[in-house]
Symmetry: D2
Subunit: 346 residues, 4 copies
């Protein structure tokens, strides 16, 4: 049994880490960090935990926390983890950062896209990008894991096999993504009010969303050359879920079976990636509340393109679930421990 | 490890039984009955179960099923269970019926409100009304459990302590209930189409809903005399959840503390009933996906009334979860086995 | 052609006044007041008005405004209108106040329920309660109209005929109301975020909501004696609409036809009140975007109660539409001018 | 004053034609055709029209109808209009067909994509494609107008100027479209039930949706050569609205101002097409209930692509509104007559 601390426990991702860890037999939560709610009962912020969690919210003193726990989750805005982490902390506790601070190896690129100065560039090289299906072995030995973004998780896993195998031209990739509104966080903004989001859909961050370089990096590693993509996220009137629809030109004439074989090669042994049956399109509802990624593809001979699709629960595989999966790898637990929730439908 | 069969596995309640039993360590599902989808893969009907459930749908041959399993769940329309069950079946397997067939002890009353003839009146007396918090001991020994309706579960548990203790005049009780749309089932009807339900709210079954006598019966047992109530259900644009707002006149002048003490007397030891803190109103979202019932009350000295409120997930505590809780009691498992899901928020 | 000014034009009710007045042939909007957005283009706040409204937002200088317009709408928080209005303003322009400042004739009662001091008690007596169907003649001559609250509009019109005719015992009235989320306003609060409201329902303001005394006053006027009611509002995951379900004990044995005749007596000549056909329950969607009030009732001989139901669009008949209807009466326009929108479905 | 008949009046598009024509000063509805509801009061099918429409539903006898009206709207499934229309009908009444029967000039292409035999190929050449902003003059003289599909309307208007001016390579066009659920019609199917659509998003018709050739045809006409595109529609949990996000490679290096000038060239004089301000992305809610098309674009120098966006209300500009706009042109009414609804927000 290890102890875990969460910094940013009152955001939606933090709340989901709590939900998952409460069902994890090897972990006990020792610290519910939330600067905004210090000393308030955690279950008074999220009453779903009434009579389940008795703890009060703590501050974000990462150094003090590192003395008390084995693993620290930082579910905080960009920049905070990088400003708090240091060698002493990392020598005491493993850190899983759900922000973007350690996802991008090129610090200048990070600073450009995020518009802030990186406070801990010395740990960027060491940090492991926590996309379990791709970096499993490195994650096992990591002290610091950069938990992938929600869009990059869904996008990369939907596309990766075909890029890796050279089946598509990576510079023709266009990713059109749709996200539920938990992805916008719990900040009190007019744009995220019920009446503004409900019965509405819009694109945002067009040609400039910060998850773009993160996806490009992963695809570049896959094919060994620089990849530039178009990425457009959309806000959808639902709480949870990301759906990715990605387009790319095929490099050669291929059959359904050939492409299917490539997906199977990478995902047959992956419990959390489900390659759907032929002609079945992923739906976000089919993975809700679970750590699954549902992917599929459709060939379009008319345009010589393939349409690749993927669906996740953005709070689970896109955030908290993947963080727990990373923790399981880092501590030698069963990789699916605490992550066997069957999707809830409807 | 026992074996379970489900008749009506492709309705929303049946689907939820599957979800819950898959996480139950003492039960294996041996039969996914669905007359409409015989021989079709169950996971092709509910793709949330893709790569999780491999079985195909079976018919509703209850006699054959009784030879193979220890417990049978009937999640079917009114009348079906009563038309299938018989002494031989009950001698082989325990039956938990999620329909109304065995909930009402007065067969004539059942036939009047439901407009059908009862096909197995001989088992009505024996059947135990499966509201675990009230009939726990009887359930433990039952062969046939009538799993309570969704509205009656939420209504009865919200009101029961004050009726039982004589704090309210039972004939002044007015129950205004609001339900998510899974309560309307998965039948293809225009009234239940997305565009008809979305951005809309309506009452239905006014002064004639079939759950009325079921609630009245339970309250009558509680106070030892016949109770007649007003019950009005409403359809709310959300998938899951029932909220009950109930009104009644107080029989005497009481303080918050006195009423609270009554709720605590009945629910302090009940894991699945949470009496919320003072002035906190239940919200359906706080119990979503879980077996909890959140209840609370508010005194209104101006009118000498008390407003009693309750919230459940209609598919869990209002159907599948309570059925599993009943099964646990009937088979001597831990009462909360397979039911420890933390509510999912948001 | 008269000129209108709106103070509070960037709230949801103000935005709806703009929508309606743009389609009104006798009115021109001369002032879009919004303290929060001064000098910002109105259509940059509400882009539905792009290329339709070119004006910029103005302050809330009511005195300056009165020099320029014939009618002033105040769609502002409680207290503001009372703090701005004065004799000089009223001598120049008619004022329609959408806040509660002038709805309650007993100033002490207002101050108790709203928790603020009334700044203009001298105008309370003069102000006319703008429920057109009841106070039509007085409204025609008013300088200052108190536009009714959304819940009181729907509640009063649903119940009024039976109280007026003595068919129900007014002190048994229980009103259970359900509102879409525009009723909560456009303030940036966590409780009103999409993810908090969506897939959720809750009661609020139980036994203490400020619309209670407003409803009680109107019903008291109707029956000539003090009425005390129970009123419970609920927040529903939809943008627009209020549904009222009201319960009361009948004073004598009556038939459907007798009750129907009473409703018809009051509403047969009212264009905006539709008494639905027998057994048809109002649905908020059927009045969306329109000024209609749909009402109906159901007798329940078992309990000797009648269930009265009503549905409105809270932003139209519950706010902006009724304000325009009042304006039409005050200026001698056709009462339905600018209010002939057919409900939009779905 | 002309008379109009509607065949298919009880579908969602037919219902919307009724809503719009009721507010049109030059048209009277003389025939509410609906094979499914013959002799039933129209307002009993759509109660929003209670006390507004008194008529009963009629059959779909187009020949009889042509004797009584000046214009016939067919809001019916593919194939029906083509099977009913004939020279005699067209000699008596103008026909506006909301189905796809006369949208595609190549009959073989129509038959291939729609999988049915065309019953009136002799009228295909004569029929005018009713995209008013592009074919205005031809529409004015037409007897038979093929009202464009919802996706093609939004897609074509979003892309057309850049294709027409050669600014983008048409064969790189990828259109990712998102639609509200009214687009799926009012048929009682499990897939369109509230609980299946709500909290869910999915692609459908991938690489095979029937609106693909319709869009390709229009873009081909614009650039004078055959265009092949990728088109992927998605089902979004909302009632109304289509959002199009389209991607294409630029043919040369262009500035924001240059592209803006092209959009302005085509749309400056178009009342119903609004080119939004720089960096403002269209939202479906901003056009809800109105005939507007909001379009905008974003240049992405990193990829040398332009992202083109458009939003409509699928039932208005995507169906009924455009049909009325076509009628206005065909009968010499003001083009915007009956179409001046301000978008309803929120």
């Amino acid at each position: 049994m290890i102890k875990a601390g969460i910094i940013g426990a009152t955001g939606y991702a933090g709340n989901e880490i709590v939900r998952l860890l409460l069902g994890h037999k090897d972990v006990e939560i020792a610290w519910y960090g939330s600067r905004s709610y210090i000393d308030k009962k955690y279950a008074d912020v999220y009453r779903n935990f009434f009579q389940i969690v008795d703890a009060k919210c703590m501050d974000d003193n990462m150094a003090a926390l590192a003395d008390q726990v084995d693993v620290i989750f930082t579910a905080t805005p960009q920049g905070l983890c990088a400003s708090l982490v240091n060698e002493e902390i990392l020598s005491k506790a493993k850190v899983i950062d759900l922000s973007a601070d350690f996802r991008i190896k090129d610090v200048a690129k990070y600073e450009k896209w995020y518009g802030i100065q990186h406070k801990s560039p010395q740990f960027v090289e060491e940090a492991v990008y926590g996309l379990c299906e791709i970096n499993r072995e490195d994650i096992k030995n990591a002290r610091l894991v950069a938990n992938p973004g929600c869009y990059p998780t869904c996008s990369t896993l939907s596309i990766y096999p075909l890029v890796k195998e050279g089946m598509i031209d990576p510079n023709t990739i266009i990713i059109d993504a749709k996200s539920g509104t938990t992805g916008a966080g719990r900040g009190a903004k007019v744009d995220n009010l019920y009446c503004e989001v409900n019965e509405n859909i819009k694109a945002y961050g067009v040609a400039g969303h910060r998850h773009t370089p993160e996806i490009e990096d992963q695809l570049s590693y896959a094919c060994g050359k620089d990849v530039v993509i178009s990425f457009t996220p959309h806000l959808v009137p639902m709480n949870r879920g990301i759906l990715v629809t990605a387009y790319a030109s095929l490099t050669k004439d291929v059959s359904y079976e050939e492409v299917k074989a490539v997906y199977d090669k990478y995902y047959d042994n992956e419990q959390f990636v489900r390659v759907l049956d032929k002609d079945v399109c992923p739906q976000t509802k089919w993975v809700e509340g679970s750590n699954y990624v549902d992917v599929n593809f459709k060939l379009d001979p008319r345009t010589n393109r393939v349409i690749m699709m993927g669906a996740i629960d953005n709070l689970v595989k896109g955030a908290a679930g993947q963080a727990v999966q990373n923790m399981n790898l880092m501590f030698g637990f069963k990789e699916n421990e605490g992550l066997l929730q069957v999707p809830m439908y409807p």
